[in-house]
């Protein structure tokens, strides 16, 4: 294949794919929107009131409830993106043959993949908005820059969704997700969501900062507290670049799978 697959995306077509998922979710909103938010809402209470009451000291200069609130906010969105582009996408691709039907129309494979990945990222951003309402009730959102957090989560979720999608396009059995979910969910524990990365052994610190999700957590927390600096800009750049790279890989994998 020559050139970037990303350049083959027709965003009008990608939006048609996005709209298909939106329509389905609108129909199933009771099952799709509220239950998945119960667990993060309770975890904020558990971490903030429960574990947080045991932690008297501030963590990286902020109360633990604020620290962990930012972490849960990001992790909730990212988990949603992972699930959408693993099991959700696999069902549509293999069991429902939805991709086959879509590719029988003028929509190309790059636009199809982009629509799916951006849908997962949109769901992540939407979830983060709802979690932010809960955080607002706890008086955790201190900076007006917090309004940018869903944007950061959406871009970060695009990258992670693309990684998940690349894996989905590469596997032959749904059971192979055990490996991916094991690695992906483990990485969510070392990305600075629940405790500062500098508590980790040095080698894991390097690994953690190499993962774009750590930057998504850190940048979101900085927006929440209003403590942006040049490091934040580097993190933003890394989130964008990694999302583009992952997107390119995902679309190439999908293209290879769908055109044989």
């Amino acid at each position: 294949m020559s050139g970037s697959t990303l350049l083959q995306i027709d965003f009008f077509d990608a939006f048609a794919v996005w709209r298909r998922n939106y329509d389905v979710n609108l129909r199933l909103w009771k099952a799709e929107v509220l239950p998945p938010l119960l667990e993060p809402a309770v975890s904020i209470l558990a971490f903030g009131w429960g574990i947080g009451s045991l932690i008297a000291a501030k963590v990286t200069g902020i109360p633990y409830l604020m620290f962990v609130g930012a972490g849960i906010l990001v992790v909730t969105g990212l988990v949603r993106a992972i699930l959408e582009c693993t099991y959700g996408a696999y069902f549509r691709m293999v069991y429902q043959s939805t991709y086959d039907a879509i590719l029988s129309t003028p929509i190309g494979v790059a636009s199809l993949g982009a629509g799916e990945i951006l849908w997962a990222a949109s769901k992540a951003a939407f979830d983060s908005l709802l979690i932010m309402v809960i955080l607002l009730l706890f008086d955790i959102l201190h900076s007006p820059m917090s309004v940018l957090i869903p944007v950061v989560i959406m871009v970060g979720a695009t990258g992670l969704a693309a990684v998940a999608f690349a894996y989905t396009a590469s596997i032959s059995s749904i059971y192979q997700y055990n490996y991916f979910i094991g690695v992906a969910f483990s990485s969510l524990w070392i990305c600075g969501a629940y405790f500062p990365v500098d508590r980790l052994p040095l080698v894991l610190q390097y690994l953690s900062w190499a993962l774009p999700i750590t930057s998504v957590v850190d940048l979101s927390r900085d927006l929440m507290t209003g403590r942006l600096d040049s490091w934040s800009m580097l993190e933003a750049a890394w989130i964008i670049v990694s999302a583009l790279l992952a997107g390119e890989i995902a679309l190439r994998r999908l293209s290879k799978r769908m055109y044989q």
Binding site: A16, D23, R27, L28, P106, Y259
Partner: protein, 337 residues
């Protein structure tokens, strides 16, 4: 109802007029004018290999515009692969393939805008109801919502599904799902309708019902490409057909011509003749033995009737020869793969 031409900047349509499913379309399809279009499909030395396996082996054929063209062959003959190449889902290994004058290698979105596809497997969207299956599909062709809605209602009426418009797809019977897939394939007002074994697994009532609707489309001059292993289906629906086996074309022509060219017009089947050799007969009668059945082919039934008395203790059947006889002769009657 009269529906005007769809218009959008990138999938502009200015092809000649056509009418499908009772819907008059004043100006053609969702596509650009094709370059020097003469035939619906032109395949030249078309080849598809998967590793060392050759699925389609340098075949040539032409499908004229407005004709019903069949692809017959046993499982694994290369029919579906050929069709997938036509609707741009499988890349060619070598050769040339034009659909409505467009090259499948370079003009995929143009071709896909022109083609309606009824796949072998059901790929309706189970997360949507009947009418939304059509409306959401129309979006992929950038058909404006109002026009899509009108067209969907017309097609549901044409396919006898109006009462099911709000039913979930999973609640439909197998026959209704097939009809909905055909309706969906007509949403973009295609020039070429590709049907890959459309009636496989359907009961006879449903199959005949679907044939009636396909005949109606045929009368409206839409080009139909149909793969099947039901000989009756091919004989009933196709103007011309090719018989394929192991990736190659064994025969091409009109159903009746193929019968006359490959087997005589009448056949006497004699069943349960284990161990006996076929009788030697007049020069114009050709005898074949396959398993426990003898076949006697002749240009007229009179040449065969004397034989019936010679097999008075066996079940026998005198009938006109059909495509199945041609098919079995060309692909081998005793093949079980």
């Amino acid at each position: 109802m009269r529906i005007s031409a769809f218009s959008n900047p990138s999938r502009k349509q200015n092809a000649p007029s056509s009418a499908v499913a009772g819907i008059k379309v004043s100006q053609g399809n969702h596509c650009e004018q094709s370059p020097g279009r003469r035939h619906a499909v032109e395949a030249h030395r078309l080849m598809k290999k998967y590793g060392t396996f050759t699925a389609v082996d340098e075949i040539d054929f032409i499908v004229e515009r407005g004709e019903s063209f069949g692809l017959l062959g046993p499982n694994g003959a290369g029919k579906s692969t050929t069709m997938r190449m036509i609707y741009c889902r499988t890349p060619l290994t070598s050769g040339h393939l034009l659909v409505e004058g467009w090259d499948v290698r370079h003009d995929q979105s143009k071709i896909k805008a022109l083609v309606g596809i009824v796949p072998q497997e059901n790929n309706l969207d189970p997360d949507l109801n009947v009418i939304d299956n059509l409306n959401v599909y129309a979006r992929y062709f950038r058909i404006p919502a109002g026009e899509a809605q009108d067209r969907a209602e017309e097609l549901l009426d044409f396919m006898g599904l109006t009462e099911k418009r709000n039913t979930w797809v999973e609640a439909l019977s197998g026959g209704m799902k097939r009809r909905l897939i055909v309706a969906r394939a007509l949403m973009n007002n295609p020039k070429v309708l590709v049907l890959d074994e459309p009636t496989t697994g359907l009961d006879p009532h449903v199959r005949h019902d679907l044939w009636d609707r396909l005949r109606e489309l045929r009368r409206r001059q839409i080009t139909i490409l149909l793969s099947t292993h039901y000989m009756e289906e091919a004989q009933t629906l196709c103007d011309r057909l090719i018989i394929m086996d192991r990736g190659k074309i064994l025969a091409l022509g009109k159903p009746l011509d193929l019968i006359e060219r490959n087997v005589s017009r009448f056949v006497l089947e004699v069943h349960e003749v284990d161990g006996r050799s076929p009788l030697s007969l007049a020069p114009k009668v050709i005898a074949e033995a396959h398993g426990a059945t003898h076949y006697y082919f002749a240009p007229s039934p009179e040449l065969l009737t004397p034989l019936i008395s010679k097999y008075s203790d066996h079940k026998s059947l005198l009938r006109p020869s059909n495509l199945e006889d041609v098919f079995l002769k060309l692909t081998g009657r005793d093949r079980l793969d």
